[in-house]
Amino acid sequence: MDFLTEVRWPPCAVGIGIGVLSWLSFLISREPISCSTSFARTSGGVERLFLGKKVESKPYYQEIKLVVGWQGMLVVGIVIGSLVSALLSGDFHWQWVPSRWASAFGDSPSLRAFVALIGGVFLGFGARWAGGCTSGHGIGGTLQLAVSSWISAVCFFIGGILMAQVLFKIIG
């Protein structure tokens, strides 16, 4: 069982594991693995907390429904699974500023958190616009050979590569 305490597994082993996981999730839950709708439900849920039931009648929330569903549990599971893996290998640590970021933009936690917030806004907005994220389109959809997912996945990386170049080569 030594492999469970290793810090890193080879990327292909991890990928094959995720592929097998996608078989099981199709067989058992009839769903591909996906994440981003849960964040939209969270957003609607927070809004409902302040503004009450009328939030549920917004057209978008009529479509996705403000419930804790299978996918919400999956996202909670990811946090737990990652925590368990990191604790087993001693790779868990509290960290505000990733080292690659620090080497280009300094080690200010507030700057990093602010930029992460802005990035998150684009990410959340874009995921809803495209109808999925790197999990739902990037893995779950591409492996079904869905046209929508291949187009989205390619655009995720085009946008991401361009933005990373701008940040690290021009600004940083």
Binding site: R8, P11, C12, G15, G19, V20, R30, E31, P32, S36, F39, E47, K58, G69, W70, M73, L74, I78, I80, G81, S82, V84, S85, F92, W96, P98, R100, W101, P109, R112, V115, A116, G120, L123, G124, F125, G126, A127, R128, W129, C133, T134, I139, G140, T142, L143, L145, A146, S148, S149, I151, S152, C155, F156, G159, G160, I161, M163, A164, Q165
Partner: protein, 189 residues
């Protein structure tokens, strides 16, 4: 009557929440072991200096695709596709990409990053994703029959697009991904 009805419902429920949690735990465990919960690894991919993320994704797609299409051919599973349009997938994909590059996590890996103890993910990124999703929900009525429907093609697979048998696409795509993976391995990425 009421109780009987709800019992029937749960008997038919094909998506018990507990399975979502189990699959999530396994997925999070794998993401962390692969290094995909780390900003440095993800941004390294977008800067094209570290191909870990692409290697994970391609080997997942290769394995997943062969299994799912095998099970589909055997009649064990049905595909569960997202419908799409150029306006939705191209523009949304590019906006997502900008966020991906700025944040350095995506919606799945940010959950893993939080489990790994990364506070920029928790205090910055997570809040941002929730806010961005909320902005979209507010704008949705104005977008849904306009830009999101531009170039609509619905639920479509590549084999359907090319009007061929599934395996005519699965086999060459599998071969191509395999070549890419071996190429990356040889190049030492």
């Amino acid at each position: 009557m009421q109780a009987e009805k709800s019992e029937n419902m749960s008997g038919k429920d094909r998506f018990p929440l507990i399975w979502g949690l189990i699959f999530g735990i396994l997925f999070g465990f794998l993401l962390q072991k692969g290094g995909a919960t780390k900003y440095d690894v993800i941004i390294g991919q977008l800067l094209l200096t570290d191909f870990t993320v692409v290697r994970i994704m391609l080997s997942a797609v290769l394995t997943g695709m062969i299994g799912i299409y095998l099970m589909k051919t055997l009649g064990w599973v049905e595909l569960n596709l997202k419908s799409g349009s150029l306006g939705s997938n191209v523009i949304g994909g590019l906006i997502f990409g900008v966020g991906f590059g700025v944040l350095g996590y995506c919606p799945g890996t940010i959950a893993g990053a939080i489990g790994n103890g990364y506070l920029d993910a928790l205090a910055g990124g997570l809040a941002g994703i929730v806010i961005g999703s909320g902005i979209f929900a507010a704008l949705y009525p104005r977008l849904k029959s306009g830009i999101l429907k531009k170039g609509d093609f619905g639920k479509l697979t590549l084999p359907q697009l090319f009007r061929v048998n599934d395996w005519v696409v699965v086999v060459p795509v599998a071969g191509l991904i395999f070549l890419l993976l071996t190429g990356l391995e040889r190049a030492g990425w």
